[in-house]
Symmetry: C2
Amino acid sequence: MFQEVSKHKTGGRAGILKTRAASVKTPFFMPVATRGAVKSLEPAEVAATGAEVLLANTYHLHLAPGENTIKKLGGLHAFTGWNGPILTDSGGFQVFSLSNIRKITEEGVVFKDPASGREVLLTPEKSMQIQLALGADIIMAFDDVTGLDPGKAKVREAEAVERTHRWLLRSIAEFKKLTAKNPKSKRPLLFGIAQGGLDKKLRAKSVEFVQSTEVDGLGIGGLSVGEGTKQMHDMLKFLAPLYDPAKTRYLMGVGEPTNMRFAIQHGIDMFDCVLPTRNARHGSLWISGDKKLNLKNGQFAADKSPIDKTCDCYTCQQGYSRAFLRHLFKMTDPLAGKLASIHNLRYLQRICEQYR
Amino acid sequence: MFQEVSKHKTGGRAGILKTRAASVKTPFFMPVATRGAVKSLEPAEVAATGAEVLLANTYHLHLAPGENTIKKLGGLHAFTGWNGPILTDSGGFQVFSLSNIRKITEEGVVFKDPASGREVLLTPEKSMQIQLALGADIIMAFDDVTGLDPGKAKVREAEAVERTHRWLLRSIAEFKKLTAKNPKSKRPLLFGIAQGGLDKKLRAKSVEFVQSTEVDGLGIGGLSVGEGTKQMHDMLKFLAPLYDPAKTRYLMGVGEPTNMRFAIQHGIDMFDCVLPTRNARHGSLWISGDKKLNLKNGQFAADKSPIDKTCDCYTCQQGYSRAFLRHLFKMTDPLAGKLASIHNLRYLQRICEQYR
């Protein structure tokens, strides 16, 4: 489902990823629509930044409103009004980072729903069932994430990789069972996830294992979880020669301009990250040269210029001044976060477009 | 500056109000852009609801970012991106309702800025200076509001009316002084405000006094401040025969559909109210027949229909379902408040359009 179109002299590549919802150009960045919507933005506003694919969180949507409600309403696309491809994560990352984990077994993970207090079991099979019920176009296998808990270190990391691989095989089996009746053109894509932390041997093993299965793409999980930039870049450099040209490569959770450029130049096709929108809602914006400015600063109080004179985003083109945006931020008007989100999302899309 | 176009058999009228920014049809409803922006909405989104005139709050803008900053930035229109007429209130209402009043004298009102703690003096002259610096197209005279403090009752009410009249004369004098050099076509309009609470004698006296001055319009203040619907309607009925056809009549702070219909049928041309947008942000929406629904209710969790099938607002036309909007409300996504605000604002504009 991935077609390489051109290779960059830098080592990166441009291509086309065919999904059932649409064919989209790579490399691309997916804005995070945690609960089905990118906070404070309408689907058309997200699309206007150049985004073609959204990421939605399985974990959050499972808890509310629930995949059954969304299925009844016609799936995520009909529910949210976003017609392009949607990728759902497996829920693994959120389970590990956000909830009170009760128990991890070979079967899956039992966690406590923070809202209701009830115990919820998430397994590879359950994750496939939820993602398919949501109607995602790109589905992620359920993985065992350890990157967030470096204390458990080496042994746990090796175990987690092994378990991630076993869970991948169970994810694939369940996915095939549930999509057996779909005509091929109506089948979502399935991506596996390679783990291994900062251990190169484990990483290589994991990437090779994932690529040896029938998955359409390779997610690289467990990076951008607190390690240094140099460590992340080292790992991306190390992994670059190992990629299978036929599989799409998705660097999960990365969305900082410098890291994105480096990753694209080392063969990565896809990104997602909450950073551009979360930062934007706090007034932190990227301007040319990957510099940052914080619009809440007093120095912008009477600044008539747009966020970035060279920017082609809606917010800058519309002529909203730094002074007005700063005022909106000071007044906690959600319009500030929206207009700033548009700017940051467009900033990342422009980076991707430079490599297509 | 007001031209009557037609009279309704109900007693109301349709007309055209000429301001320096644009000529607009009456009756109309002004969305409240407290700090220069209607919360969570872009100017173009506000305009798309049919709104032609915005109300901004002198009190809030004086405190932040300050009229000098706004003037430096080219005035409210350039600052906010709203090109249509802008009405600014006098600041009187907010001073009385929001702040710690330190002292009311014949000179004006000393209040404490809740943010900085500093003491600020607002006088009729100061109010004119601020509103003209902001660049408003319709300016309100500074008034003494008592409606909020029924405990002080009769004597204070009569005093307040007298003071409001004296402050009106000072407002007019200051306004004339400051706009003396403006060519007539570039001069903002000035409206006076009639007070008098629920005392018909005082009200009649106040309306007559305001209309006897050179003001372009008559604001009716101190209603919709907690009195019953019947009392408000009684007063509007009582005042209807007293209006001067040449002056625009502005019922301040009223924006409930039933009250608006009643008021239009009794000669009112203009309205403003925070109700449609504030209610919307809490999920409370008007649907045909002036009924209300609260989108946060569980009954809408799987409801595919739009807020109101008969509604022509952007939100309903775009196909956003009650289920999705409810989900956004539950997730506290500001997009919910925005889409709901659009619906409620359009609801009130449609009422006005029916009478034009």
